[in-house]
């Protein structure tokens, strides 16, 4: 082993310092969000800005909760997230199974079509999608929030890639035992695909929770609002009352952050799978 030179050590110190600064500035908005949500009005309008409140004012949260039907927004968000999650997992796993482990004519063409549509920017389908919903009379219903979001080509692609790595012998053994195609899918392949499905589920849940543009377009009434739309509307209504706005922002962010830390492993795996490097 060579002896460490002075320049190497100093480089390391500087890089660690910079990384820490970056980490703090990454976390800063979250810190500001939580701490300012506990401040009083006069406290937040002070210069130099205070990072922590002198006495936490939980009253802000009570006021925030009373001002809007947050319970309803949260219910909508949770309900839609669960429905989208269930539907997507079904579509994704069945489609992934067909595209990876079954052999039939047209399979590869269809796969290429799917990939082609994955590249399509969402803006192109946004307007016709809205008009289709409108002609179905689904505007401002749960259907509008759930049905169009069920497809997840990226998730299907991921699942397919994962299923391709499973050994063929598993199925062959089951086939000899006389298992039907559906049994093989349900009893053998799906349980093995738990990791990749967990990845898809995590991304879907986070994505649905913070979805904004689509709910903004397809809902009108307060009863159908999802939480991020609720917060955006709330913020335009109470422009000056920052602590209360930030309290609402905290309310919406906490589930996201919790899910992020719990399901981190699956998120990172998803990135690796989809960027073309499989471990």
């Amino acid at each position: 082993m060579t002896k460490r030179t002075f320049s190497q050590i100093s480089l390391k110190v500087v890089s660690i310092f910079l990384l820490t600064v970056l980490a703090i500035s990454t976390l800063l908005p979250y810190i500001v969000m939580v701490s300012s949500s506990l401040m009083a009005q006069f406290e937040i309008y002070s210069f130099p800005p205070k990072l922590f409140p002198t006495t936490p004012r939980f009253q802000n949260y009570v006021e925030m909760w009373k001002s809007q039907p947050w319970g309803r927004y949260i219910f909508n968000t949770v309900f839609v997230s669960i429905c989208v999650l269930a539907g997507q997992l079904l579509l994704v796993s069945m489609g992934g199974y067909a595209l990876s482990r079954l052999n039939f004519p047209g399979r590869d063409t269809i796969f290429r079509i799917f990939i082609g549509f994955m590249m399509l920017p969402g803006v192109v389908t946004l307007i016709p999608g809205f008009i289709i919903l409108r002609s179905l009379g689904w505007i401002d219903t749960y259907m509008a929030l759930i049905i169009p979001s069920l497809g997840n080509i990226w998730g299907m692609f991921l699942t397919r890639q994962y299923m391709l790595t499973l050994p063929q012998s598993l199925e062959d053994a089951a086939r000899i035992d006389g298992a039907s195609e559906f049994t093989i899918f349900w009893r053998i392949i799906l349980p093995l695909c738990k990791p990749v499905l967990a990845t898809v589920a995590t991304f879907t849940f986070l994505g649905t929770w913070k979805s904004f543009l689509w709910p903004l377009i397809v809902t009108r009434s307060k009863e159908m609002r999802m939480i991020e739309v609720g917060i955006a509307m709330f913020a335009t209504q109470y422009t000056i009352d920052y602590p209360i706005q930030l309290a609402a922002a905290t309310l919406s962010s906490i589930p996201l952050i919790v899910v992020y830390f719990v399901a981190q492993k699956w998120l990172l795996q998803g990135i690796k799978l989809s960027s073309g490097y499989e471990r």
Binding site: A23, T26, L28, G95, V124, P128, F203, F212
Partner: protein, 734 residues
């Protein structure tokens, strides 16, 4: 055998479903048209009222009104009135003649209201009486001796009016009193329909069990206050239903013949084996032609004929009653009663019109069809929307009545679309069928195919429903003027794109988006550095990675709101930190110079983590042996980075670059929450601009054209990015 029975079964099902659906949509169209025809008869009613008023006023305004001459005048009135009454202001009858009504004239709303009016103002109203409808008109006058007089006259409407309407519209007309008592032929009217019509103050359509189509018009007094009764138009729907039935019969026959042709075709195939499959399309051709004939020509033809009837009867009404009513200049009334637009031109110049916003200047493509009496009928386009016009000339003045043809156009388009879907389903079916016949000897192969498609079906259906279909629809949309509130969706050719190229605001948005995308290389530079720095398998580095990745998945509206506070000019954290280094306060979000930069900062914060993670994956895939070999050769740290890391990271860099650019071209949420495109449109990015065009201005067609333009720009950009990185970079992904 299976093939034949499946063909027969499939054809039958398709036939029944499509015919039922079409019948329903044709009936729906018929009902809508009925509402329009009925407006025509209310027009007749209004014209009657007006012509009565006119005859009365002709006498009152031209003759000398001395009390001694009233008897003489009354004789003139009696030529067309059933009664005339002159009263003083207290209701004492001065003179009367004819058959007076039984109810108290003086205390009626009509006379009580006219007492508050100016001299010479007419009020006209309808009264249901035992034998029918009575028009009454009232006016307050001053006799030549200077005494105030209330004049009331009335006439029965029954015979003339009802026979006129019956003749013009070929419908039976009845009057039903408020209580539901029917004058005329006895038939029952559903009380609920009457109630609905009176509550909505507008005509109701009702189809009775014995096949009569009733349109119920509620009649209110002149103040739209008290319900007087209803006029009912009754059309025996039977002939129309019979014509639909005949249509179905012909359709069924054609279907039968062509299905037989198809069955014969399958038999031929069965004889000749898979080689005979070539003939299958030939035998199925009659079937397609039949379907296309029925949906493209016959059913729309029925609708067009119905509409032509309506146009003709309206022309008759206008030729008899048009001038007398239109000359009043009460165009808004005509517009409301008949649901049309009215224009008056004098010496070829448009003098007045009920169109708003100068639309009457955009008349083009006049197509004259025929003339009825003094009325010319034809088609004209107003602002690209097709209208039927009725043109009447009296002297120098020309009245043009215009009716939008949109309901007809839309109904026809709907039926034709259905026809195309039916054909598409049929082609699919035949395709599947011929595939099955071809592989009839390989049941296991067929079974595997079936299972494969069953598993794929949910995802495939969703793709077609929410991706393939919308994309196709969006392409059509870009060539249409498509407003949410306006039912007319005319094709405007390249107009949207032409406007797009001239639209400075759109290109300003494009420019902003391009500027915004400059954050991609900046953020990539930092994320690569960070990725190299944290690429070590220690616990603290793993923690840092977790922190950096946090905004990627949790940032949304909520964090954007926090950033709005951080960017605050006076109390924001950012200006405070910069202030420590002596930077003066910057109005981040309120100055057009810095607002876009602020959003770029927010974006870098949000995307740094995701880029870093992908770079990390790329770094970890570089074999460690390369670095060791380089070290042995004496390469220093920088050389190792530039000669090994960078070249081997090229595919990863390309992936990050392309996906980030695509993402940054579609930025929306921060702009929506922070600046709404402002200040001075400095943050008006393309996606936000499209959203505004579609959901603020409600111009969906134009917005669709914009989104295709954005797509095109992205496509070209992506192409050049691929070129930039070279073939070997993207081969790893395909």
């Amino acid at each position: 055998m299976y093939a034949i029975s499946s063909v027969v079964f499939f054809t039958a099902v398709l036939f029944v479903v499509s015919i039922l659906y079409t019948e329903q949509s044709v009936m729906k169209y018929k009902e809508d048209l009925e509402k329009e025809s009925l407006r025509t008869s209310s027009f007749v009613l209004n014209s009657f009222l007006y012509s009565f008023e006119k005859r009365v006023s002709d006498i009152l305004l031209k003759e000398d009104l001395s009390i001694s001459r009233l008897d003489e005048l009354n004789q003139k009135f009696l030529q067309f009135c059933s009664f005339v009454v002159w009263m003083d202001l207290d209701g004492n009858v001065v003179k009367d003649l004819g058959k007076l009504p039984a109810d108290d004239l003086y205390n009626d709303l009509l006379v009580q209201t006219v007492l508050y009016e100016d001299y010479g103002t007419f009020l006209t109203d309808l009264y249901p009486l035992g034998e029918g409808l009575q028009i009454r008109t009232a006016m307050i006058l001053q006799s030549s001796e200077g005494e105030d007089l209330v004049f009331v006259s009335g006439t029965m409407l029954q015979k003339e009016f009802f026979s006129e309407v019956e003749q013009l519209t070929q419908r039976k007309v009845f009057f039903v009193s408020k209580a539901g008592e029917i004058f005329g032929e006895g038939f029952a009217v559903d009380k609920d329909v009457l109630k609905k019509a009176s509550e909505s103050h507008s005509p109701e359509i009702h189809l009775t069990a014995d096949g009569k189509l009733l349109t119920v018009i509620p009649i209110f007094d002149f103040q739209e206050w008290n319900l007087k009764g209803f006029i009912i138009n009754c059309l025996q729907i039977e002939p129309f239903k019979r014509s639909i039935f005949r249509l179905q019969l012909i359709g069924f026959f054609l279907f039968l013949v062509s299905s037989i042709s198809l069955v014969v075709g399958i038999l031929v195939v069965a004889r000749k084996g898979a080689r005979g499959l070539r003939f299958l399309p030939l035998f199925s051709l009659p079937l397609f032609l039949t379907v296309l004939y029925i949906f493209i020509f016959q059913i729309p033809g029925t609708m067009q004929r119905e509409y032509a009837n309506y146009v003709e009867s309206t022309a008759k009404v206008l030729s008899d009653w048009g001038n007398i009513y239109l000359e009043t200049g009460r165009f808004e009334d005509v517009k409301k009663v008949m649901n049309v637009q009215v224009m008056l031109s004098q010496n070829g110049r448009i003098v007045s019109s009920t169109f708003r916003g100068g639309l009457s200047q955009t008349l083009e493509n006049w197509k004259s069809k025929y003339e009825i009496g003094n009325v010319e009928v034809g088609q004209v386009h107003v602002n690209k929307v097709r209208y039927t016009y009725w043109k009447m000339t009296s002297g120098e003045r020309t009245f043009i009545v215009l009716k939008e043809e949109t309901p007809l156009v839309n109904s026809v388009a709907k039926v034709r679309l259905l026809g195309m879907i039916v054909v598409a389903v049929f082609v699919m079916f035949l395709w599947v069928l011929s595939f099955a016949i071809k592989n009839a000897e390989r049941p296991r192969f067929l079974r595997a195919t079936l299972i494969g498609y069953i598993f794929l079906a949910p995802a495939l259906i969703h793709l077609i429903w929410w991706a393939v279909g919308p994309v196709a629809f969006s392409m059509i949309l870009a060539f249409q003027r498509w407003n949410v509130v306006d039912p007319a969706k005319p094709f405007v050719g390249l107009d949207n794109f032409r406007e797009l190229f001239r639209d400075k605001l759109f290109w300003n948005a494009m420019k902003n988006t391009a500027l915004f995308s400059l954050q991609v290389p900046i953020s990539m530079f930092f994320s690569l550095l960070v990725a190299i720095a944290v690429n070590r398998p220690t616990r603290s580095m793993a923690l840092l990675r977790t922190v950096y990745y946090l905004p990627v998945v949790t940032a949304g509206v909520s964090t954007t709101i926090v950033w709005r506070w951080i960017f605050n000019r006076d109390f924001g954290l950012l200006n405070y930190i910069l202030g420590i280094f002596g930077v003066p306060k910057i109005p981040w979000l309120t100055s057009p110079n810095t607002a876009l930069i602020a959003i770029m900062l927010l974006s870098i914060w949000q995307s740094l983590g995701s880029q870093m993670v992908i770079f990390l994956a790329g770094l970890q895939s570089i074999p460690q042996a390369f670095y060791e070999a380089a070290s042995i050769d004496g390469a220093n740290r920088f050389q190792r980075f530039s000669k090994i890391t960078l070249p081997l990271l090229k595919p990863t860099t390309m992936f990050v670059f392309i996906t980030s650019v695509i993402g940054s071209f579609q930025v929306f949420t921060p702009v929506y929450v922070l600046t709404q495109g402002g200040p001075l449109r400095s943050t008006d990015v393309v996606f936000y601009h499209i959203w505004e065009a579609a959901w603020i201005e409600l111009r969906m067609g134009y917005a669709a054209a914009q989104s295709w333009m954005l797509f095109l720009v992205l496509l070209i950009l992506t192409y050049f990015q691929f070129k930039l990185f070279g073939k070997e970079s993207w081969q790893q992904y395909f």
